[in-house]
């Protein structure tokens, strides 16, 4: 099945996506459409608290799907400025709209240079064999 890889996003090899930063260096983070399909139906999402700080590729949260549990890594170093409480109430949004309503946290990026280390859409497509 074809998977969605939006052109305006950056990606990790672990299947997180990052929306490019706004003027305040704040990015949205979630898991890719590919990851949500691989995981299957998401039933729980454990998200960090606002104010929590993560280094690049530290575990930021956990996604429980019917068949497997998966960790979500922080694609870049930063501080959580907002969490998407709506997906704790209805985790299936992560499957339905991973790049939209299914975002997980917003991070204030500590070191914007780390963004340059992420995969672009073409590199991510190659990574998942598309």
């Amino acid at each position: 099945m074809a998977t969605l890889i939006p052109e305006h996003l950056l990606f990790t090899e672990e299947h997180e996506y990052v929306q490019k930063p706004d003027a305040h260096d704040i990015v949205s983070v979630g898991i890719t459409d590919y990851a949500s399909h691989e995981l299957g139906d998401v039933v729980y999402v454990d998200l960090p608290q606002v104010g929590a700080k993560f280094k690049k590729m530290e575990v930021l949260g956990t996604i429980e799907a019917v068949k497997a549990v998966s960790e979500v890594y922080s694609p870049v170093s930063g501080e959580v400025v907002e969490v998407n409480g709506a997906i704790e109430g209805d985790p299936s949004v992560v499957n339905r709209d991973p790049y939209g309503a299914g975002w997980m946290v917003k991070l204030k990026v500590k070191n914007p240079a780390e963004l340059d280390e992420l995969l672009g859409p073409a590199a991510y497509a190659a990574h998942i064999g598309q």
Partner: protein, 369 residues
């Protein structure tokens, strides 16, 4: 996956792939774990409508000969002699130790017995029962590779199946009974059995006819939706039906597993009987219970269990119930506390969460149970 080439495929393989199934290795077969709708949607289809499972991987053993019933009685715990022709019973095979070799369904036919076993144990079961065949006038035939099996499950199953089987009055087939007849012109054993807690039928037929049966059930005019092994597990667990390898295994006995009702101690000798007698005389030390988590979490098979702060085994089965929303599961607890209301803990990634023993089945609103 290099091992794919050695995996068996059912006659429905191409249809699963065409339907967008995620195929996984399971018990030596490539089987559909889910279709594009996803496990949760498939689960609800079976609770509310009608779904179709390919369970061709299950094993079928045929016992013929003068001693067919006596043999079946010796190798299983339930009493096949109590069956009428056309009736089915849930049962299991035991080791000499009383541990469960496998659970199974025993069907009594006019001239033979058919035992249906788990795919994952088929080879082990076959070897096990053949050990005892010499003492009886029986012929054992493993029909597993010659038998396709579809399970049509859900409250709308009969409504869908009846027009395809005009020569059979489905109303006359009770729960855990079967008959033979044509479905879409194909000779089938039509059994009112299943593993979901809903009404439904299991259709045994020849692989050569398999696609005729499938297309009669699955087509644009039919309400039947495809359901994979993922939803099969959540449906059975909501009913607290044991799964071999999780809830029951070589080390557990039927009394411990809560299936003591299947054991007919008065029927005469059977494999494992002495060990069961000894266990009853000594008293049980543990029993399988159903539990629900009191905090948010996903209890999975093998997560550690703590009773009174001390380790006591592990979660045997666990899931977030699609029908109830609760995180539910099974575990063996010390017999003294294996009753509803008992609190214990399940460790999930280093954190111990409170759990409470609850009555089973978890789901009590099914159309069959």
């Amino acid at each position: 996956m290099a091992q794919t080439e050695t995996l068996k495929r059912t006659p429905f393989y191409d249809l699963h792939v065409a339907a967008g199934a995620k195929m996984v290795p399971f018990a030596g077969y490539e089987m559909p774990v889910q279709y594009p709708e996803g496990i949760t949607a498939e689960h609800h289809v079976v609770r509310k409508g009608v779904g179709l499972f390919d369970v061709t991987h299950m094993g079928e053993f045929e016992i013929t000969g003068k001693d067919a019933l006596a043999f079946a009685s010796y190798v299983t715990v339930n009493d096949p002699n109590a069956l009428a022709v056309g009736q089915v019973q849930y049962s299991c095979f035991l080791h000499e130790t009383g541990g469960i070799v496998d659970d199974c369904l025993v069907h009594r036919m006019a001239d033979r017995v058919m035992i249906v076993v788990n795919a994952s144990n088929c080879a082990k079961d076959w070897k096990h029962i053949n050990r005892f065949a010499g003492k009886f006038d029986v012929t054992l035939t493993n029909r597993s590779d010659e038998t396709a099996l579809l399970a049509l499950q859900g409250p709308r199953a009969q409504e869908v199946l009846q027009p395809l089987a005009p020569g059979v009055n489905l109303d006359a087939i009770g729960f855990y009974w079967f008959t033979t007849g044509k479905v879409a012109g194909v000779d089938c054993i039509i059994a009112r059995t299943g593993y979901t807690g809903e009404d439904g039928f299991e259709l045994y037929h020849a692989p050569a006819d398999a696609l005729k049966v499938w297309h009669a059930l699955v087509n644009p005019k039919s309400p039947v939706k495809l359901v994979g092994l993922g939803a099969r597990d959540s449906l059975r667990l909501e009913m607290a039906y044991p799964l071999y390898g999780n809830d029951i295994d070589d080390e557990t006995t039927p009394f411990e597993a809560g299936t003591g009702w299947t054991v007919k101690m008065k029927k005469g000798d059977f494999m494992g009987r002495k060990s069961l007698e000894a266990q009853l005389a000594k008293g049980l030390t543990r029993k399988l219970v159903g539990f629900k988590l009191l905090e948010r979490g996903f209890p999975r098979h093998t997560y550690p269990v703590f009773v009174g702060g001390k380790p006591f085994g592990e979660v045997r089965s666990g899931i977030v119930s699609p029908s109830l929303g609760d995180a539910i599961g099974t575990a063996y607890l010390p017999v003294a506390v294996a009753k509803p209301g008992t609190r214990f803990e399940v460790e999930i990634r280093g954190k111990r969460l409170p759990a409470e023993v609850v009555p089973t089945p978890f789901w009590t609103k099914g159309s069959r149970r």
